[in-house]
């Protein structure tokens, strides 16, 4: 069974963490993963940095740019993760834009991910229709899940289509925004979370964008099975350093 599916069998709300690989320092990747595992997070999204991350707000733009300046590349990241399964049994997802994967060769990329023991991918600018038509078979050959985003503007028909194509989970973007945009959740979010919950989808849902602390984690997971924290975690890494990761996680839980 895919580690992502296993995670959803836990009886608590899942906490998933995103960070940009290669930031704050090029060689931080494995140490960050070890500390996240020790702190008890349920899943990790490893960001493959891109020069033009157009769905991301200033924090992740900045961490991506700095990761690239530090020398992060697709090959470098896959090398860093080569033996990761000797120490980490968390579900691991690589999240990145499509162009670097396209240049690496989509099949070659999938193959390496599969060899390493990556469980799935999130590719914000690979639309579900294009995936369905051109890449789904390939991803399945290599046992990789591909997760899709939905937003408050996504129509019911499209949510159902995404549910059909999806494996693992659906990434529910909390509001119409780029990443890291807001600090609290109001009625519109609550209504949206409820509306999606009422569709009775087969795929579990995780909320992302704008989750930064225990409060927003709590609210976000009332109608979903988990939540993802990205920008707030990256800011913490910058200010407090990698070794303090357990403090950040304890504050959320």
């Amino acid at each position: 069974m895919n580690r992502i599916d296993q995670a959803f069998q836990k009886d608590h709300k899942l906490l998933s963490i995103y960070f940009s690989a290669g930031h704050p320092h090029l060689e931080d990747t494995t140490r960050i993963l070890e500390l996240l595992q020790q702190s008890g997070v349920d899943m990790v999204e490893i960001g493959l940095p891109f020069s033009d991350p157009l769905a991301d707000g200033p924090t992740i733009q900045d961490s991506s740019t700095r990761a690239l300046e530090n020398g992060m590349t697709t090959d470098k990241l896959l090398d860093q993760l080569k033996d990761i399964r000797q120490s980490i049994d968390l579900p691991l997802i690589i999240m990145g834009y499509f162009n670097p994967m396209l240049q690496y060769g989509v099949e070659r990329f999938c193959k390496r991910c599969s060899e390493i023991g990556i469980d799935g991918l999130i590719i914000p600018d690979l639309p579900v229709d294009v995936y369905h038509e051109n890449y789904q078979a390939l991803f399945e050959t290599y046992g990789l899940y591909n997760m899709f985003l939905i937003t408050p503007q996504t129509s019911e028909a499209r949510v159902r289509y995404i549910d059909e194509v999806s494996k693992g989970f659906i990434y529910m973007v909390s509001s119409a925004s780029v990443t890291g945009a807001q600090s609290s959740f109001g009625d519109p979010q609550a209504a949206y979370f409820k509306r999606i919950a009422s569709y009775d989808l087969q795929t579990p849902r995780i909320v992302g964008f704008g989750i930064s602390n225990a409060d927003t984690f709590q609210t976000a997971t009332q109608q979903a099975q988990g939540a993802i924290i990205g920008s707030a975690f990256i800011k913490f890494l910058e200010n407090e350093g990698v070794e303090k990761i357990p403090e950040f996680i304890q504050r959320i839980r």
């Binding site: 891109f50 020069s51 033009d52 991350p53 157009l54 769905a55 991301d56 707000g57 200033p58 733009q61 900045d62 740019t65 690239l68 590349t73 697709t74 090959d75 834009y97 499509f98 162009n99 670097p100 994967m101 396209l102 240049q103 690496y104 914000p124 600018d125 690979l126 639309p127 579900v128 294009v130 899709f148 985003l149 939905i150 937003t151 503007q153 996504t154 129509s155 499209r158 973007v173 119409a176 925004s177 780029v178 945009a181």
Partner: protein, 393 residues
């Protein structure tokens, strides 16, 4: 082979809509409505009236006698430099503002590099009384102060793009992020034939007025509606798309695309995407773009701010790969020399982008009976400082 867009939004291998889900509803809505709205009689009536009375169309097709004599062939200039605001850019912004009104949008965003598209967008927003926000790279804001002032005078807000390389591609990223953050009331007026489908086709259709006019104007003076060659400079490629549009499927017309080689194709400072680009995805479109082997988008260089886009519209990528168009690249020096020559032979100071198109006559020979139409896409006022510095005027 077909050279225009297909029903899936592709030009051969290129195009499509590689966009985050957050943009899907807006882009899908546009895709469903842009053709139908643009073809409505009321739209066409308003569009044509504004192009005539406000933009100053049709622009002349001018037989350049001294220029023709010098290069031993028959050369016509399509005078887009005479459009209101000084370039072809306004054809597209007029079309898109009329579309935005019909889509019920009350807020306009745009990206701009040199500021020409920003000015053209600010202009139509002033004309229609609609809020306008223009994203411009922080570095470009410093380089293009007069156009920033023009946009402000027209009532637009100019927001600096501080991310990445702080130039056109980053301004485009910022505009896309704004659209993600404002999905309900906002229309994004892209300035070139780039971005996710339907933008490349939509912008090409609004610019197609250029070749529509060339056809009837040539018919009058040459007794046939086509030239032997059409020539245009290509950055993103909007003036070129308009110039080629009605000739794409006319094999008797040779299409010439002129790219900016900057300091030379192999100098590391160039914007010649056909020579240096590889297939990839930029701003939601699969096309040729300049990038590292690792797929990171790189910063191009040209003396002309309007040509330093790291990608090229998918239509042009297809024209290149299929061999339908002849691609020629021209260096900074060649373009500047051509700009000076055009000024002194014909009394027309061209935009430096446009000057690239004219530089080809030094490297590409044409027969004495051949008819060549060059799109004179913009006037050079905005580039005076660059000309002054370069020629020590």
């Amino acid at each position: 082979m077909k050279y225009n867009v297909d029903e899936r939004g592709y030009y051969g291998d290129f195009g499509g809509a590689y966009i985050p889900e957050m943009l899907y509803p807006n882009v899908a809505h546009l895709k469903e409505h842009y053709v139908q709205i643009s073809q409505e009689a009321s739209f066409q009536k308003e569009f044509k009236a504004l192009l005539r009375d406000y933009v100053g169309r049709p622009t002349p097709l001018y037989f350049a006698e001294r220029y023709s004599e010098k290069y031993g062939t028959k050369i016509y200039f399509k005078r887009e430099d005479l459009c209101h605001t000084g370039a072809h850019k306004i054809n597209n912004t007029i079309g898109q503002i009329l579309l935005a009104k019909r889509l019920g949008k009350s807020r306009i965003i745009a990206e701009t590099g040199a500021g020409q598209h920003g000015v053209a967008t600010a202009t139509v927003c002033a004309l229609m009384g609609i809020q306008c926000i223009v994203y411009m790279g922080a570095i470009d804001i410093k380089r293009q102060a007069p156009n920033v002032a023009r946009m402000k005078m027209l009532g637009a807000e100019v927001r600096p793009a501080q991310s990445g390389s702080k130039t056109l591609k980053d301004a485009t990223n910022e505009a896309i992020r704004d659209w993600i953050n404002n999905p309900e009331d906002t229309h994004y007026i892209i300035g070139s034939v780039v971005g996710p489908h339907p933008y490349p086709d939509m912008v090409a259709r609004y610019q197609a007025i250029i070749s529509e006019e060339i056809k009837s104007q040539l018919q009058e003076v040459e007794g046939r509606d086509y030239p032997d060659h059409v020539v245009a400079c290509v950055g993103g490629g909007s003036n070129a798309a308009g110039t080629y549009y009605h000739y794409l499927d006319r094999p008797e017309v040779n299409i010439i695309a002129v790219e900016a080689a900057g300091k030379g194709i192999d100098s590391g400072e160039s914007a010649a995407t056909s020579a240096l680009g590889k297939e990839g995805i930029i701003h939601g479109s699969k096309t040729l773009l300049m990038q590292t082997p690792d797929g990171q988008i790189t910063e191009p260089y040209s003396i002309s701010a309007g040509l330093d886009y790291p990608g090229v519209g998918p239509m042009h990528a297809h024209l290149f790969r299929s061999g339908r168009a002849e691609f020629i690249s021209v260096t900074d020096d060649e373009a500047m020399t051509a700009g000076l020559e055009l000024s002194q032979l014909e009394g027309i100071i061209p935009a430096i982008e446009t000057a690239h198109a004219f530089a080809i006559f030094e490297q590409r020979k044409f027969g004495p009976e051949e008819v060549v139409v060059v799109n004179l896409s913009g006037r050079g006022d905005k580039d005076l400082n660059t000309y002054i510095d370069y020629f020590k005027l």
